[in-house]
Symmetry: C2
Subunit: 195 residues, 2 copies
């Protein structure tokens, strides 16, 4: 295949929108798993794969999550079929001997908090982007947000673990009738240079 067809480009990029209102249509766990299984194929530095995802779907987990959300993100998140908490494993490097062919990879990070932080943040964010585009490729809609209390979220869900939250994303089937016009995007000439 030389390139994706226009229908796929529309689905992933051109016509995909950030949603805040959700149709009454559940998201099967199997579909979240399929999205992860596509997203995990994307590249990370030294194949380090620091992304961890907690899917908040049950009424009980939603109730625990609600006070962690900024006010403007609360109602739409409570109404979403699922919310992904994109987290990063701050001990991701412990798995690198299994994930990467270079046996010294663990030593690039162990005991080096700045390198751990930068690599976990950059690569979990990359993987979260792959995951959101994978969701879209499966017909799901996304509503990513960074308006939430990370410390509170970590205390509620990740206490006693090495997971730390990065950002969050509602997942479901968006109600297109509730969309506002799309915000403008920067032109190539404003954002890019060729040297």
């Amino acid at each position: 295949m030389e390139r994706a067809d226009d229908a796929a480009l529309d689905l992933l990029f051109r016509e995909a929108r950030t949603h805040s209102k959700w149709l009454e249509k559940p998201v099967p766990d199997a579909l979240l798993r399929q999205a992860y299984e596509l997203a995990r194929m994307g590249p990370t530095s030294g194949n380090c794969q620091p992304l961890r995802i907690l899917f908040v779907t049950s009424a009980e987990a939603k109730k625990k999550f609600e006070p962690c959300l900024s006010e403007g993100n609360r109602a739409k998140t409570m109404a979403a079929p699922a919310t992904a908490i994109f987290a990063m494993d701050m001990e991701f490097y412990e798995l690198m001997p299994r994930l990467f062919h270079d046996p010294t990879a663990r030593s690039w990070f162990a005991g080096k908090p700045a390198a751990i932080e930068e690599t976990a943040f950059r690569n979990s964010t990359l993987q979260a982007a792959y995951f959101m585009l994978a969701c879209r490729s499966l017909g799901l809609d996304c509503g990513p947000m960074s308006g939430f209390d990370k410390q509170k979220t970590d205390a509620v869900f990740f206490s006693g673990t090495t997971w730390r939250s990065n950002f969050i994303c509602n997942i479901g089937y968006g109600d297109k009738s509730a969309l506002h016009p799309r915000n403008p995007r920067l032109d190539f000439a404003e954002s890019c240079k060729i040297a």
Copy 2:
């Protein structure tokens, strides 16, 4: 369209690989522009769009870039048709009055270096991931890397500007015959939980 077809999922995720060897086939500037025009549609926090890209393509720019690269990334980068330096505009918030409907958006960042840093890093990384998948959707191959000297790169290319480098990515048509077997990926059960 309900979901992308298998050919598109293969192209973007399942069969796409990180490449280090490149076919002798140039990458037209127009294709880099098309990839940007797809990628820019992806979501960012408050539509802040901090990503900036310098495409290193000319012999002269490559020569300036060469000493910024870690030794293991030098030969493959010099041989690549193009290298994207994914950068972030540390004054991205100056454009928010034009990009986002909330007129207070600029004030969330102006004079707040920690908020600027986190938002620029997270969102430029998201946009770089969208860009890499957009490249793949157009039939291009990518080889992302973080092994380079960011300070030196900023001094060489971004001196006197508000752009700062994040990570880099070779772009071209990969030589599939030079690929090693794919490194393992983490299973859903290792990386994800449903609550």
